[in-house]
Symmetry: C2
Subunit: 182 residues, 2 copies
DNA sequence: GTCTATATAAAGATAGAC
DNA sequence: GTCTATCTTTATATAGAC
């Protein structure tokens, strides 16, 4: 570890790594500073609160989801749009495994989302758009189980060994089975 | 809240409620004491460490999984056994939603499991037994996505409204789709 | 079996020197 | 832009009175 570098492009990945391993609540600014080889004060120079760091780390993930939802809006509603959402989510979740794991799994995130209305909107749309047309009662359950399963790779060492392509295809396959893709 | 009651049968449900809402790392002994209406010292009279409380809260869930795995051992290996596991897990996860959510979702739990080998064994067996026979590459992924999805109800208010029976059937349905039940 | 009070460490956060 | 030093609060944990 090279000492004395708390630039944004180094700080945020370090924080993400710790959030993924210990959770947001289980990660202190001291741990982030140690990971970077700097003092806590150096971290505070870039972000005046811990919440600011959490938000900066997660923001790109929420933006990606929002962009995906926006992008598939031009497709016909129904199976085709659901398939595009599933494929897009699989691609993003595989490419940014830790980021999506924190966003979808960490119990501290709902509170953050509640404090930032801009974060909530994309997921509300996503959940609605992913629902199969029939099976009204259990459709939300299928969507929730798919989204929860999306981050299954995070903790499992056996799955961590899968290639991006294997994992992406596996996730899409599960999406097909749960969400009646067209 | 009646004041002055930190008996085990009151303490553990209160702790579980807080663990489910704020995560294990996000829950302090002060929060537990406040929830019970007693002082921190009263809590420490029953459990000398926080880890002791976490273990006492989660132990029944791990025991249930172990008992389930043990119970299905008499069934023929394969689809029939997988179905029994899925039905048993669905039943337990629905009945003890918060407990299973903490056990399967909280990032602090893997560290706890690592420190208590007796906790790890049942899940290793469970994961192995749940795997469909074919599809060797993505079978562990299907299992992991099912287990992660098992606790999807925890955070979603829309799903929290489902009855136990609706939820149980929905989970079994997803298990059927992912795990090639016989 | 609970309380108040306290010890000790670590948390989030700031001030001011370099 | 980072440092040391410090502040304040909160964390885990203990001692001893009731």
């Amino acid at each position: 570890m090279v000492r004395g570098d708390a630039r944004e492009e180094v700080l945020l990945p370090a924080a993400l790594k710790l959030f993924a391993r210990h959770g947001v609540s289980g990660t202190s600014l001291q741990m982030i500073a140690d990971e970077l080889g700097v003092s806590k004060a150096a971290v505070y120079h870039h972000h005046h609160t811990k919440e600011s760091i959490v938000l900066a780390v997660l923001w790109p993930a929420f933006e990606q989801v929002a962009a995906l939802v926006e992008r598939v809006g031009s497709l016909p509603a129904g199976g085709a749009r659901r398939r595009a959402l599933v494929e897009g989510l699989a691609e993003q979740a595989v490419t940014h495994r830790q980021l999506y794991a924190v966003m979808l799994r960490d119990v501290a995130v709902p509170a953050l989302v509640a404090s930032e209305p801009r974060l909530a909107a994309p997921f509300a749309v996503l959940r609605r758009e992913l629902q199969p047309d029939h099976e009204p009662a259990t459709a939300p359950l299928r969507v929730a189980m798919f989204l929860a399963g999306l981050v299954a790779p995070a903790g499992d060492p056996e799955i961590a060994q899968l290639s991006d392509e294997q994992l992406r295809r596996g996730i899409v396959d599960v999406g097909e089975r749960l969400l009646d893709l067209g």
